[in-house]
Structure formats: structure tokens, C-alpha cells
């Protein structure tokens, strides 16, 4: 029998078909190599380009060679039009957006992929193989693949849009315990609904399309309510998770069309994305469940004693302190990114170096709002790579640091992570600025960081607060030092 099948497949063989398969193989190899290169600093950019080349190959080859039941791809004009449209819009958006808005952009593009996967499922449901239906009714693999693709794609689409809105400041957080229960209920409902549809037996798929639309709608709702209660600070993790969802949705398409490049591409991203999500959580010292279920920050917890007094410092004093210290460590945080003060930071650093001060930067892995945020910003300002210390290294040297300047950072230097087990950030590895001989904190006021908790470092004996927008404060300090 095996023979028979092979022979049938052989009869189906066409030159174009095999060229298509070969391009798909090449594309998959390029995806793998691209992903591999993307995970090493030196080769990352080239990796991205290789993957893009693979994608272009796969798309072009599909348009030229793909056949279904002996028919070539039709509507080519419209297809090329749609691709052109997508390309133009995509490039424009991607090129125009500010570096600080990168995470929401990734989320937006991710949502697009999810949406495409959902639409494909919607379109393909009525075309389920008659032979399969005669044999098993709707209880067959094709239906399962289509419905899962629909559900996962829609959740990914809706969730990504909400994540986008949140990061863009358009949507606030809804923190409510009820939503969590609703979410579990919705998920059960969705899965139950898929089982229900599949158990309908020998029906004509087009007759139950309304059920599929309901599934689509509920999935969208679930996507929204899944992301809604998660805090904005956790969005990078959520995006990474949704990213792997879209990967799986794309892979479902691979099953559907017996298309191995969709399958490998999708599953690679699905598994790599899952691991990446876990790695991100680890970097913030949290578990994935904690991110999804336990909303982070938001007033209630972590009551630090606010009785302490804070000590302010003037710009001239700060300048003197910095200029006459042998070793200075700069700790940048989210505030520096918002204030776009990275160039000034570099100016300060060069100035101090010229005056014989040893200046280093301490980069906390989750400083800012996305992983690698600080590295990207400091790199943008041309700060040499060898000046950047990773957390552990910085902490080892902290006791020898004369002045630690905390610029717009808060949570990442909050000693509560080490002292206070009830704190929402308890256990997160921090930069131990409190160990330095002197600390200067530059921020606008006594505003809280993303975790929304008080920071005892600001009340420390050794801490001097320099209030004001990071950019202005830095400018003043720089001017002061120049005039000395």
C-alpha cells in the first residue's frame, strides 16, 4: 500500500512543485540560520537579513509555483497589490516610529500576523475535505487545525492590539480579581466550544459557519480580557508570549496546507518565543504565571516607612562631588529614556573622564521598559561598549564606587527587593547602589517607578536627591563642570 501512495504522489509531481518545495527548504534553513544569528550580538543584524531573504524567497516562489488541485495561484494582480500595500505601510510605520515606541510596534506587527492566521481559518473552514467529513464528520484533524488556528490567531490579534494600546498609553490597566475568573471561564468556554463544533458529526461545514463566527468573536473577547488586567510594565513579556502564539497559529496553517515552511517557521517561533518569554521573566525574577495572574504594582502593597527625611543637593555641589571623585558609576533607568538624556549622559561622562574620573555605567537587565532598552539607548549615544557593566559585575565593584548617580531609575535600585519579602519586587536582583559611598538620584520628584512602590534608597543617609527632568539636571551639571 505504501507503494501505491508513493506512486500517486509521484503522479502528482510537477517540476514547479518540486522547485517550490526546494525553495521552501532553503527558506526554512535561512529562518533557522537567521534565528541562530539573531541570538548573537555580532551577527544579529545579518541574521535578520538572512531570515528576510528566506521569507522573500518563500513568498515569491509560492506566487509563481504554488498549485492546488492543479490550479495555479490566481488573482495575482490583487495579491501583488495587497503585498505592495502592506509593504509600504509596514515600512513607513517601522521607519518613522521612535526608538522608545519599539515594543508597541512589535506588538502591533505581531497582531497583524495573528489576524492573518485567523482570517485564513475563517476562509478555509467551508472548504474542509468532503472525504474526511464523510468518514468522521467534523471530528477530524483538519477541523481541529482550522479551529485552533482561528482561536489562537484571534487571541493573539486582540491581545496584541491591547498590549499596543497599553504601551502607547492609550489604554489603562483594569485591575480586578473578577476579570481573572472571567478569563478562566472564557478559556474553558472556548475550548469547550471547539469540542462542541467538532462533535456535530456529519454536517455541511458551510451550515455551521455561524458557530465559527461565534468562536471568532469569543476568541477576540478573550484576547482583550486576557491582556487587560496585566500591568503595562509586563507588556514586553506578554508580547513575547503572544508572539509565540502567533507562531503556533501560523504553524496550524502549515498543517492545513501541508506546507512545511509555514510549519517550521511557525513552530520555531512558537518554541523560541516561549523560551524567550521564560528568559524575560527570569530576568525580572518572576514566573510566567505571576505575570499573567498576579497583577504587579498598583498601590496597595509594599508600605515603606516614609517618615525618613530626604536630603537634596544643588547642581554646584553635585558637580563638585562628581568631579573630585575617583570612581563614578552611572545607573540609568526608565526616566533617562523618557527624558532622552542619553547624549547628555555621554557628555558628562566624557567630561569627567577628561578630568581623571573613572566613569562606568551599570546596566540592569530590566531597566527601562523593554529588555536591552538601556543598552540600545546608550549605544545610540555612542557610549563605548566596554564602559557598560552588567548587574553582577557592577555590584561586585559597588563598594569602591565613590558616587553612584541614579538617573531616572527607581525599581532597579530599590533595596526593598532584598529587604522586604512582602514587596511586590521581592527577590528581584537589583543594582546595589546603596553600597556606594555616595548616591546622587536625579528624578523629577518623589514619583514612583513602574512597580508603584516607595523606595527607601531615597531616604538613605548617603543619598542626595537632585530634582528635575533628567535632561535639564544633566545639562546643568555638565555646564557647571565645564566652568570649573
Amino acid at each position: 500500500m505504501d507503494e501505491l501512495i508513493k506512486v500517486r504522489e509521484i503522479l502528482q509531481f510537477t517540476l514547479g512543485g518540486s522547485v517550490l518545495e526546494i525553495t521552501y527548504m532553503i527558506a526554512s534553513i535561512l529562518f533557522i540560520i537567521g534565528l541562530k544569528m539573531l541570538s548573537h550580538p555580532d551577527t544579529a543584524r545579518r541574521g535578520n537579513i538572512w531570515a528576510a531573504v528566506g521569507m522573500a524567497l518563500a513568498i515569491i516562489s509560492t506566487i509563481v509555483f504554488h498549485q492546488q488541485d492543479g490550479e495555479h495561484i490566481g488573482n495575482i494582480g490583487w495579491i501583488l497589490g495587497a503585498i505592495a500595500l502592506g509593504t509600504i505601510i509596514g515600512t513607513l510605520i517601522a521607519k518613522r516610529v521612535q526608538m522608545t515606541a519599539m515594543p508597541q510596534l512589535v506588538s502591533f506587527f505581531n497582531g497583524m500576523g495573528g489576524g492573518a492566521a485567523a482570517l485564513i481559518s475563517l476562509m478555509e473552514f467551508p472548504h474542509i475535505s468532503q472525504a474526511l467529513i464523510t468518514r468522521h464528520g467534523l471530528l477530524n484533524g483538519q477541523v481541529l487545525v482550522i479551529l485552533l488556528g482561528l482561536m489562537i490567531g484571534s487571541v493573539s490579534f486582540a491581545g496584541s492590539m491591547i498590549a499596543y494600546g497599553k504601551l502607547d498609553g492609550k489604554i489603562g490597566d483594569i485591575r480586578s480579581g473578577v476579570l481573572r475568573i472571567v478569563n478562566i471561564a472564557l478559556l474553558v468556554l472556548l475550548l469547550g466550544f471547539i469540542v462542541y463544533i467538532m462533535s456535530l458529526g456529519q454536517v455541511e461545514p458551510s451550515n455551521v459557519m455561524y458557530l465559527v463566527y461565534i468562536l471568532f468573536a469569543v476568541s477576540l473577547i478573550y484576547g482583550v480580557s486576557f491582556v487587560m488586567p496585566i500591568g503595562g510594565a509586563d507588556m514586553p513579556v506578554v508580547i513575547s508570549l503572544l508572539n509565540s502564539f502567533t507562531g503556533v497559529a501560523a504553524a496550524m496553517g502549515g498543517f492545513l496546507y501541508d506546507n512545511q515552511v509555514m510549519l517550521t517557521g511557525g513552530i520555531l517561533v512558537g518554541s523560541a518565543g516561549t523560551i524567550l518569554t521564560v528568559l524575560m521573566c527570569k530576568a525580572m525574577n518572576r514566573s510566567l504565571t505571576n505575570v499573567i495572574i498576579g497583577a504587579f504594582g498598583g498601590g496597595a502593597s509594599g508600605e515603606a516607612d516614609q517618615d525618613g527625611h530626604i536630603k537634596q543637593i544643588g547642581v554646584p555641589d553635585a558637580a563638585v562631588l562628581l568631579n573630585y571623585s575617583p570612581r563614578v558609576l552611572i545607573i540609568p533607568g526608565y526616566g533617562l529614556a523618557v527624558a532622552q538624556a542619553q547624549m547628555l549622559c555621554h557628555e558628562l561622562d566624557k567630561l569627567l573622564e577628561r578630568n581623571g574620573v573613572d566613569v562606568k555605567y551599570a546596566i540592569h537587565p530590566v531597566a527601562g521598559r523593554m529588555p536591552g532598552h538601556m543598552n540600545v539607548l546608550l549605544a545610540e549615544a555612542d557610549i563605548p561598549y566596554d564602559k557598560l557593566l552588567e548587574s553582577e559585575e557592577a555590584n561586585q565593584q559597588m563598594e569602591d564606587v565613590d558616587v553612584a548617580i541614579v538617573i531616572g531609575a527607581n525599581d532597579v535600585v530599590n533595596p526593598a527587593a532584598e529587604d522586604d519579602p512582602s514587596s511586590p519586587i521581592a527577590g528581584m536582583p537589583i543594582l546595589q547602589a546603596y553600597k556606594a559611598r555616595n548616591i546622587i538620584v536625579m528624578k523629577r520628584g518623589m514619583g514612583k517607578g513602574y512597580a508603584g512602590i516607595e523606595n527607601n534608597l531615597f531616604f538613605d543617609e548617603k543619598t542626595n536627591m537632585l530634582f528635575g527632568n533628567a535632561k535639564e539636571s544633566l545639562q546643568q551639571v555638565v555646564n557647571e563642570i565645564k566652568n570649573m
Partner: protein, 104 residues
């Protein structure tokens, strides 16, 4: 039950591909430095835009107007994912490419 087993049987090679891809994805990523989390996420994001191929197939064989419209939207969305994803990743990586080179 039988129909699930049948699905596995018929798609055994596809399932092997899935298994291998899962392990490969895990292996490839597991040592990535945290600096690269964001660009990597973004690059991976672009790769799953491969779903656009499905959209092209749908559209290429669309018979009704509804299918055409949905297909068109799907192709646009998929292309957005692919093109936007790669371009944005490239931009991000462009930011620290030179610095990284010095490191090696």
C-alpha cells in the same frame, strides 16, 4: 479517539517536523544575552509572518467576493507583519551594531 490517531498517523511526518522544530527553537534561543531579547523577539515576530503564504494561497484560489476581500485583508496584514517586523528589527539592531563589533 480513532480519528485523532488517524490524524497522527496521516500527519506523522509533519508531527516529526513539529517535534524537531520545537527542540531546535529551544536550543537556538537558550543562550541569548538579555540585551538581545527585544530584537530577537522582533525578528522572531517577523518570521511567523510566514503565515502570509497561507493568505496568498487563500486569495489565489478565492472564488467569492467575500473570500477575495478577506483574503486581501489577510495578505495585507501578513505583509505588514513580515515587512514591518524585519524593518523594525533591522533598525533596532542598527543602533548597537557598531558597538557590538568592538566587543568581539
Amino acid at each position: 479517539m480513532e480519528s485523532i490517531l488517524e490524524f497522527i498517523y496521516v500527519h506523522r511526518e509533519m508531527i516529526f517536523i513539529v517535534i524537531l522544530s520545537v527542540f531546535l527553537g529551544i536550543e537556538i534561543i537558550s543562550n541569548v544575552p538579555s540585551v538581545l531579547h527585544t530584537p530577537l523577539m522582533s525578528g522572531a515576530n517577523a518570521i511567523h509572518g510566514v503565515v502570509v503564504i497561507g493568505a496568498i494561497i487563500v486569495m489565489g484560489h478565492a472564488e467569492t467576493t467575500l473570500a477575495m476581500i478577506f483574503g486581501f485583508i489577510a495578505v495585507v496584514l501578513g505583509t505588514l507583519n513580515v515587512v514591518g517586523g524585519f524593518v523594525v528589527t533591522d533598525r533596532m539592531l542598527g543602533m548597537f551594531r557598531n558597538k557590538q563589533k568592538r566587543r568581539s
